[in-house]
Amino acid sequence: MEAIEQRPDLERLFKESAEDLARYFSRRHDSGEKAQDLVQETFLKMARRLETGNAPVHLRAYLFGIARHVSHAAWKRTIYERKVRIDYPDDLTAAAEPDERVRAATEVIEGLPELQREILDLRFSQGFSYAEMAEALEIPIGTVRSRLHNAIALVRDHLRENNPE
């Protein structure tokens, strides 16, 4: 009964978020075809969880929380299949000449731990709020805020070092 009531929400969520989710998987796995499979897998898992009576606060954030697990499982499968570490190709947008500001920020961001990079990705790629990121990443909202602030402060400090005036 509950599942039937939640189905329209899921359909709406699919229409609203499938594209964003595909972009999320493409960014994390560098494969468009694979991304579509992972989107389907994520929505299947979401439907199953909703059927068990889970009532997430932020539906979209909850969806991305599942997507994160799906993404990691896919990554692990790929690693085991290939038995080698995946070396992703270098910067796909290298053609676009980055300015000094972006270059400085890149230097900082590539040195950040993965969780902090995930926070930046969800914030600037998906436009998530602190609360949504906390739900998707299954961490306290205070952690999201402090990690995000820390990353921005590091970028700011590096920009200031590179451009002291």
């Binding site: 961001i109 600037f124 790629s125 970028v155 920009l159």
Partner: protein, 149 residues
């Protein structure tokens, strides 16, 4: 206001995470303190640069499993620590129980009435001695000893 607190507020503001009233107060504060405005603009610049990196460099945000390994390691460490704590508690309880039991046994041996102690000794002055009753080994009876004196 501490610079760190102001920075945090300015970042929250730039990311649209401040309540409207607080955002208005912050704007008013920055208008009155132009020297702080440069801090705000530098932070906005950092946020803009970060945004650009996220858009232009998806390769920096690929799945590596690093955060999961960290989380999994912390969880396994926590569960391992819990197991060790439980094992240590059981050992401690066992040792404490053993000592407590031996101490109680010692105390039970020590707590006897002087009269009974006197009678257990084979003394010519003893007026009573203790005998087990036949068939009732748990019970003891004082038996009058005829004085030899």
């Amino acid at each position: 206001m501490k610079p760190e607190s102001l920075d945090a507020l300015m970042i929250d503001h730039a990311l649209g995470e401040l309540p409207r009233e607080v955002a208005e107060l912050l704007d008013a504060y920055l208008l009155e303190n132009p020297e702080e405005s440069s801090r705000a603009s530098l932070l906005r610049e950092a946020i803009g640069a970060t945004d650009s990196v996220v858009q232009r460099r998806p390769d920096l945000f690929r799945e590596t499993g690093e955060s999961r390994i960290e989380k999994g390691f912390m969880l396994s460490l926590f569960s391992r620590m819990q197991t060790v704590a439980v094992a240590a508690f059981i050992c401690l309880a066992g040792v404490a129980g053993f000592f407590l039991k031996s101490e109680m046994a010692k105390q039970q041996g020590e707590i006897q009435s002087p009269a009974l102690l006197a009678t257990t000794r084979e003394s010519p002055w003893a007026r009573y001695h203790i005998e087990d009753s036949v068939g009732e080994p748990e019970r003891i009876f004082p038996v009058r000893v005829e004085s030899q004196h």
